[in-house]
Amino acid sequence: MFENLTNKFEEIFSSLKKAPSLNEKQVEEGLRSIRQALLEADVALPVAKTLIENIKPKAIGQEIIRSTTPGQMIVKIVYDELVQLLGDKKSEINLNAVPPVSIMLVGLQGSGKTTTAAKLAQYLEKNNKKKPLLVSLDVYRPAAQEQLKILGEQNSIQTLPIVKEQLPNDIARRALGAASLSGSDIIIFDTAGRTQIDLSMMSEIKELKSTLKPAEIMLVADSLTGQVAVNIATEFKKAVDLTGIILTRADGDGRGGAAVSMKFTTGVPIKFLGVGEKIENFEVFHPDRIANRILGMGDIVSLVEKASQNLDQENIKVTEENLKKGQFSMQDYLSQLRQMKKMGGMEGVLSMLPGVSKIKKQMDNANIDENIIKINEAVILSMTKEERLNPKIINASRKKRISSGSGTDSATVNKLLKQFKMMTNMMKKMSKGDPKDGIPPEIFNQLK
């Protein structure tokens, strides 16, 4: 069904003439099919709706990169939004606590908790050089404790010996003592499956949490989950304040909509993926892969990325030429800023400058704030073409217009203009030869 989405897109957009930017009608139509794709990928309806609402203003007026179509541009915008939503950065597991550090896994019946407990133990052993202890608190399901014990034996991971008839809270206490004795620095607690509406079972995990004070309490959820994902994540978060989500069965055919729904409604980061039944089938979560899967349009995304990279390359060339001629415009500055944003910092800009290695040291500890880059971008976008080419004409009334257009104030505009001036001077110097004094530190300071 998703494979067809690409065709549907082509259909919708082929009838439309190529425009330099996306207009409202194109966006509306494109987003309607995206919405359908999201729903069929099990993204919860309210989440799909909000996503679409967020994307709309970003898409309207978006420039269409040469050699791509409006449909492709929309897919790329949605993709970027999904990646951002799913987490810009990797969310590392938090082990900062006095050892033994407790980690608790909770979730619905059959979601994969026990298997995941063993996977996580092995992962921490290998990657974090930890000595884990596995503990099952599932006294209900037939052979649940036995299952974890066998997994421990098969993979030489220590498990807490089973004491029949002991209650979960007592097992938990026993585990804390046992770990200290055996020198285990991490204890992973597997719990029984429970539905989020089972009040007595939900209060059980609250009680366990207060006994264990775990550094991480993670929801183990099936990535094939449907619309109910929102309710599950919300209720578990309400009960025990989750610190992470682990999605299992990502090796299935699920589109991963549950991931989006859960992250979006709870803000709880997704930390790992289960990608098979074997203990080594366990991965750190990568937002971009899931985003690709939901849209089922990895090809389009990489196509647009490539096209925009090419465009960046062209822009860089133009900027370089301008530099050589000593004509550095606001437009060039904008493409530099965008490059910075994309490369996550100054490195992108570096490639354009002579005397790179010397400057690089300065930059490494410069720690540029992305927000300021964004603000500067907004300010430049509010300038007219004329103003961008020749910033000298920006007088008080123009400043007023630019600042209100970009949602900033005239101080911000002034700051940018000052920066630009410094930049131009520096560029002029550099274009004439090796900069003796390097880059004036103020430039970086202003980006912090």
Partner: protein, 305 residues
């Protein structure tokens, strides 16, 4: 507690059962295209799938709901009738006929949906009916899968045929049907490992289990039941599709309807595949399995209290 009451416990706690949701959408509202869109959206939220939601929207549109009369009641009736009409013909009971010994029931499904538990529950029903029941532990892969089935067999007084972990599941199934035939057993329930329908080797393995049984009884397995989990989204459709490609599925059981998932996907599956629906799982205990009844299912999905 009958299905209706139990099913509703879960549904009531989920914030929106259908009727409640419809109420907010149609009472004192013009039934215009916006309202119809909202109705469609709301149906999608219940996992009934985009297709059923669209069909229902079409029926709403064609029916010309009269806002002067009780519009909520009209909408409710339309949905209830649609569910009943789609699902009533799919009701199916499993009977252990006198003539067939053993009646072989093979259980299939992806990981963690509730196969083993459902076998325990089915075994309970049959043995209460004074049938002799044997379980075959043909999940030789998952840790403690055999032990789990063993505990169930003790609980309900069934015999279990098993082998070591890691052994060939088809050979366990063969051993079990051979044993059952020899000992005049009424019913053989075969537990299999969870397998995702997109894994070819595991699907082939399932086919092999199904085939090896025919050496003893060419008509077996008499039933191949696919277990579905109510919390599963659109993947459930693919699960039905792919398992059916491997071997004919004779019926479905949907588990975990005691949670907040409404299992609306069952409607989508009914519309698309016309497969018999046998029972629904309403909890983890041995008695938490109810025969599927379209009326009850429709009512439970719809009613607010």
């Amino acid at each position: 507690m009958g299905i209706f009451e139990k099913f509703k416990i879960g549904l009531n706690k989920s914030s929106k059962n259908l009727s409640e949701g419809f109420k907010n959408l149609v009472i004192n509202k013009k039934i215009d295209s916006k309202t119809l869109d909202n109705l469609e959206d709301f149906l999608i939220e219940s996992d009934v799938g985009v297709v059923s939601a669209k069909e229902l929207k079409q029926i709403f549109t064609d029916t010309k709901i009269d806002p002067k009369k009780d519009s909520l009641n009209q909408v409710n009736l339309i949905v209830e009738n649609y569910i009943k009409k789609s699902m009533k013909p799919l009701e199916k009971n499993i009977v252990i006929e006198e003539g067939i010994k053993p009646k072989v029931i093979l259980i299939a499904g992806v990981n963690g949906v509730g196969k083993t538990t459902t076998i325990g529950k089915l075994g309970k029903i049959f043995s209460k009916d004074n049938k002799q029941v044997v379980f075959a532990a043909a999940d030789t892969f998952r840790a403690a899968a055999i032990e789990q089935l063993e505990i169930w067999s003790e609980k309900i007084g069934a015999k279990i045929i098993k082998s070591e972990t890691g052994s060939d599941p088809a050979s366990v199934a063969f051993k079990a049907i051979e044993f059952s035939k020899k000992n005049n057993i009424d019913c053989l329930l075969i537990d299999t490992a969870g397998r995702l329908q997109n894994k070819k080797n595991l699907m082939d393995e399932f086919k092999k289990i199904s085939k090896v049984l025919k050496k003893i009884d060419p008509n077996s397995p008499h039933e191949t039941i696919l277990i579905l989990d109510a919390t599963t989204g659109q993947s459930a459709l693919n699960q039905v599709e792919e398992f059916q490609k491997i071997t004919p599925i004779s019926g479905l059981i949907m588990t975990k309807l005691d949670g907040t998932a409404k299992g609306g996907i069952l409607l989508a599956i009914a519309r698309k595949y016309n497969l018999p629906i046998i029972a629904i799982g309403l909890g983890e205990k041995e008695d938490d399995l109810e025969l599927f009844r379209a009326e009850d299912y429709a009512k439970a999905l719809m009613s607010s209290n």
